[in-house]
Symmetry: C2
Subunit: 461 residues, 2 copies
């Protein structure tokens, strides 16, 4: 019997082909047109788990996109149970014309794989499955008990997963969650994540005249819905960058000076970052560094705006309607429901009297998440990452949201360790998403190692 | 030989069929995809003129969409020459889903014809052609000399017509222009137009990061292009409705108190107008009535805005770009080039430093137009309208722009009399455009009469 190290090398090409097969399923969770692709992807995951030697695999209904379960529980009752988590759904691929190759036809170039979902999260999600196969094939058993929970609604805020995990507490009961939906600090440096942001989302609808109007025949007499919308949007922030919604910052935990000093130690070349973004200057909340604004401060972003004529040329029209989409990223201890209500109340208050303004609250909402650097899960993960990458992980915060982390904590009492392989420059959620294959290989080694070391998890807790 | 009155009645059905045939040509001037339809419509007009008995018909190149010429010059050198004007191009038909029937398949309901171009301006434009046929068929000659100028670029601001008329001054030389691109006060009351507004147009482009970004990974650190655009748009007007661009009002001629009193006499049910628009309240420049804001004050309107994700659901993205389209309606003596430059300068000044802002000036520009109520052209037209409608025309201003009126004045020295049949409630530039057929019939009678009465034009000048 070969070692797991040899098995990983020998089967590398096949693993990569399987990743490509997985990526080719366009499992976009946000778009109803892809509902069938979501089902196909879920079935693919369950089959792949079974082929790896995982037992009791099942595609489980959630009320929305399904979750995939599986387990292998023969390590013994004295051994910890580790829940492997990731998501098989992906973001929409538009704007399509900015992709160099079709988003769902993976292309390998310069040891990177380009496709929607390559980095977020199919390339990560498949690594624990392949690691389990590797250990079972080379050692005949796993050092710890494992369960799997791969969801299909992460990119839309996991609306049904809260209720689903509440309903299946016993089935998913575990000591620790390893999340393959995570990333590295950069292409060659790992990190562990101490904080994740929460999320809330809403839409503003401004309605003016009942139909589009001739701007000459009716110009000057009514509030243009686009202008009213811009006035409302502009009222959400002070000119110097602070969010101007009353109550928005009320529950934000101010970070200690020592934690801010830790954050300042994490290396980041701001000028290079600015050049990568290709912006003339940074902009954000006064009194905080660029890093702090992204990591430990809540944000409010306009995701889309539309109204009136968008075609080529001139159309002298006063549009009937205008709309905008907003999401906020939240930090401890903000409550997404409270924050979005504060925004709605503010918008209704500033709405000018010449138009009708309504605010739609999106169902998606996630609480922010915090975890200590000294937690045994983080400590063991740090040892493995240090071994495989040759450098200790940075302890960081992430501006992104993983609502599921709270659901695991609330319903299973289990903490959530970042154990994924994407880098932030890999165009997540954008055209030309890619994953570095060297980190796909490192990720496989990390999962094989961490399952061995977690046998000591209870000892260290 | 029958009278022209009898001929109009006898041929009513055929005239209406011909109007429908004309409307079915989707001659949208703003959209390159309809370039061939513009040619088809021009040829249709030339053929119809020839069939009416007009001579020397020609589809003339302008450098853009062509103009259609024709003449009948046998009334004698002592008789005035009247130029008949209108446009065969139409506005884009979108949003298509708001039409009750396809925009280019005319439907007749309740003595109205529904289609794009029915009211603006195909239903108007065809009336002088049919009147000329009627007089030639019933009287064997016309009382005055006539020339025709039917253009195909009115809805995009007539960009080539200025140069075209400058180049063909002798061909189009005339004493007065009758414009079939005009309207009634309401379905049963005529009006004559003393002022038309000028026009300028521009677009704002805001560029942020080089690609769309994940709102978690990059949130809080940069100026969101949508927010920057909203800030710029919001800076264009004070909260109480005055346009805040420095210099915007500099050249505006303030109307005399007596003219403001005349305007106040024109009947208008403001509450009914508000209900027709279906808006909660009027809004506009302080210090002026609703009527004055539309008629004698310059306006600035947002025609369109777009950026980021517009689809269903939530997409947590910071968009790379955002854009907006603006048009202004101008009054005497504003210069469109000076006004648009003032707006551009203002936008560049208020542009926040975290984004790249550029302003594109559209080629379309028109100067405002003014004409006395005592002008002999207006006086004769008033007599005819009073006869046919049984009520004297109101003397009004129009918020719309007809750049061609200045071109005729500048190059031919000829004034421009409003002599068209659309009503402002007929959804011009909007879905479900229609024309009342009773006014199509009245319009035919008006053209037959006015050509008779204009034989005295020189006497009264």
């Amino acid at each position: 019997m070969s070692t797991w190290q040899t098995y990983l090398t020998t089967n590398q090409d096949r693993f990569l082909q399987e990743l490509q097969e997985f990526i080719r399923i366009p499992s976009v969770s946000a778009l109803p047109a892809h509902a069938e692709d979501i089902q196909t992807a879920a079935a693919w995951v369950a089959n792949r788990l079974q082929a790896a030697g995982v037992e009791n695999t099942a595609v489980m209904p959630t009320g929305g996109h399904p979750a995939v379960y599986g387990d292998w529980l023969h390590a013994g009752p004295d051994k910890p149970t580790i829940l492997l988590y990731g998501h098989y759904d992906v973001q929409p691929a538009d704007p399509l014309d900015l992709w160099d190759s079709p988003p769902f036809e993976p292309v390998i170039r310069d040891d990177c794989i380009y496709a929607r979902g390559a980095s977020d999260d199919k390339g990560g999600m498949i690594t624990p499955i392949l690691a389990v196969e590797t250990l079972l094939q080379t050692e005949g058993r796993l050092p710890v008990n494992i369960k799997c929970c791969f969801e299909g609604q992460e990119e839309i805020g996991s609306p049904q997963m809260d209720g689903f995990l509440a309903q299946h507490k016993d089935l998913f009961a575990c000591d620790l969650v390893l999340s393959a939906d995570g990333g590295l600090w950069d292409a060659d440096h790992p990190m562990l994540v101490l904080g994740l942001k929460g999320l809330c989302a809403l839409e503003i609808h401004v309605r003016g005249p009942k139909g589009d109007l001739h701007s000459g025949l009716h110009g000057g007499v009514l509030h243009n819905p686009i202008e009213a919308l811009c006035q409302i949007v502009d009222s959400l922030r002070t000119p110097d960058g602070k969010i101007a919604v009353p109550g928005f910052y009320d529950d934000v935990v101010e970070m200690s000076e020592s934690m801010r000093a830790e954050i300042a130690k994490v290396p980041r070349d701001e000028e290079q970052y600015r050049q990568e973004l290709d912006i003339p200057a940074f902009f954000g909340e006064p009194g905080y560094t660029t890093q702090e604004r992204n990591w430990i401060r809540p944000t409010l972003e306009l995701n889309g705006i539309w109204g009136g004529f968008q075609g080529e040329g001139v159309k002298t029209v006063i549009p009937s309607e205008a709309h905008a989409k907003i999401t906020c990223r939240l930090v401890a201890n903000q409550d997404p429901r409270k924050v979005r209500q504060a925004i709605k109340t503010h918008i209704e208050k500033v709405a000018p009297p010449g138009v009708r303004v309504s605010v739609t609250l999106a169902e998606q909402a996630a609480k922010p998440y915090l975890m200590s650097a000294d937690h045994p899960g983080n400590r063991i993960a740090a040892e493995v990452l240090t071994d495989v990458f040759g450098a200790p992980p940075y302890m960081v915060f992430v501006g992104g949201s993983v609502p599921i982390s709270n659901f695991f904590l609330n319903h299973l009492g289990a903490n959530f360790v970042n154990f994924g392989w994407s880098s932030s420059d890999e165009n997540l959620h954008a055209p030309n998403e890619f994953l570095r294959l060297k980190n796909f290989r490192r990720g496989l080694a990390c999962y094989c190692q961490v399952l061995h070391r977690l046998v000591h998890y209870e000892d260290t807790q």
